[in-house]
């Protein structure tokens, strides 16, 4: 499952609409190992094409190095399809080289319909996943619910009943 902030998703769709009829592309960076889509980086499509995209090599080096410096990875790699559905093309699958990334596709074929889908692509195998849109990403370290200590059996910690602990079905 991919969790996206609503503002991030809106910015990606706006980017895709702006570059239509050419494909738009970019990444969302997040801390390594976190799977958190935190920092949106819209990028140039060096191909400027309605049927193909490729990150500009110089920009990619700069952005990848910046992610390295910040201990981030490309959590999401997104691009748009401008005349077809938001599903990976054969070329998308052939080029996909980040099995840990979420490949987010946006289709701009219908100006009135938002079509956004996400996939894992690993060695030619494509798996669609749910996209959950939230106002803000969950906090980085989910609070660990500690188990309350003490007796949790059928009888409360009442001294009068302690001798009955462990009894089952006794009336």
């Amino acid at each position: 499952m991919l969790i996206l902030e609503a503002a991030t998703l809106a910015a990606i769709i706006a980017h895709a609409r702006r570059d239509h009829p050419d494909e738009a592309c970019g990444v969302i960076a997040g801390p390594a190992g976190s799977d958190r889509a935190e920092r949106l980086i819209p990028m140039a499509n060096a191909e400027r094409s309605p049927t193909f995209y490729r990150l500009d090599a110089a920009e990619q080096l700069r952005v990848w190095r910046e992610m390295d410096d910040r201990d981030e990875v490309p959590v999401v790699i997104y691009h748009s399809h401008t005349a077809t559905e938001a599903a990976p093309s054969r070329t998308d699958i052939a080029y996909a080289s980040e099995p840990r990334a979420h490949y987010l596709l946006v289709s701009t074929r219908d100006p009135d319909v938002e079509e956004v889908r996400s996939y894992r692509i690993d060695g030619g195998a494509v798996t669609e996943e749910e996209v959950r849109v939230v106002e803000t990403l969950p906090s980085q370290q989910p609070a660990i619910q500690e188990e309350p200590h003490g007796h949790r059996g059928p009888y409360p910690d009442d001294p009068a009943q302690q001798d009955r602990r462990g009894e089952v079905g006794v009336r």
Partner: protein
């Protein structure tokens, strides 16, 4: 990792001798760089500096990134 050679091609062959298979992942059977990798010498995309014949010298750094591309 480090290696020797006067060109990117020679350098990749030198490193391939110690890490077999590396060159094949970057270079096609026809002896050209694969389209789906980006190779940089000192941060310059080698597509603009002579591809595999890009000269390299002591102290140069080579960076390899998978191209992010599709249709």
């Amino acid at each position: 990792m480090s290696g020797d050679g006067a060109t990117l091609s020679a350098l990749l062959s030198d490193i391939d001798a110690r890490h077999p298979g590396l060159r094949d992942r970057l270079v096609t059977q026809d002896g050209a760089l694969h389209r789906f990798v980006n190779v940089y010498v000192n941060d310059e995309d080698v597509r603009f500096t002579g591809a595999l014949e890009t000269p390299v010298k002591d102290g140069d750094s080579v960076t390899i990134l998978p191209a992010v591309a599709g249709g």
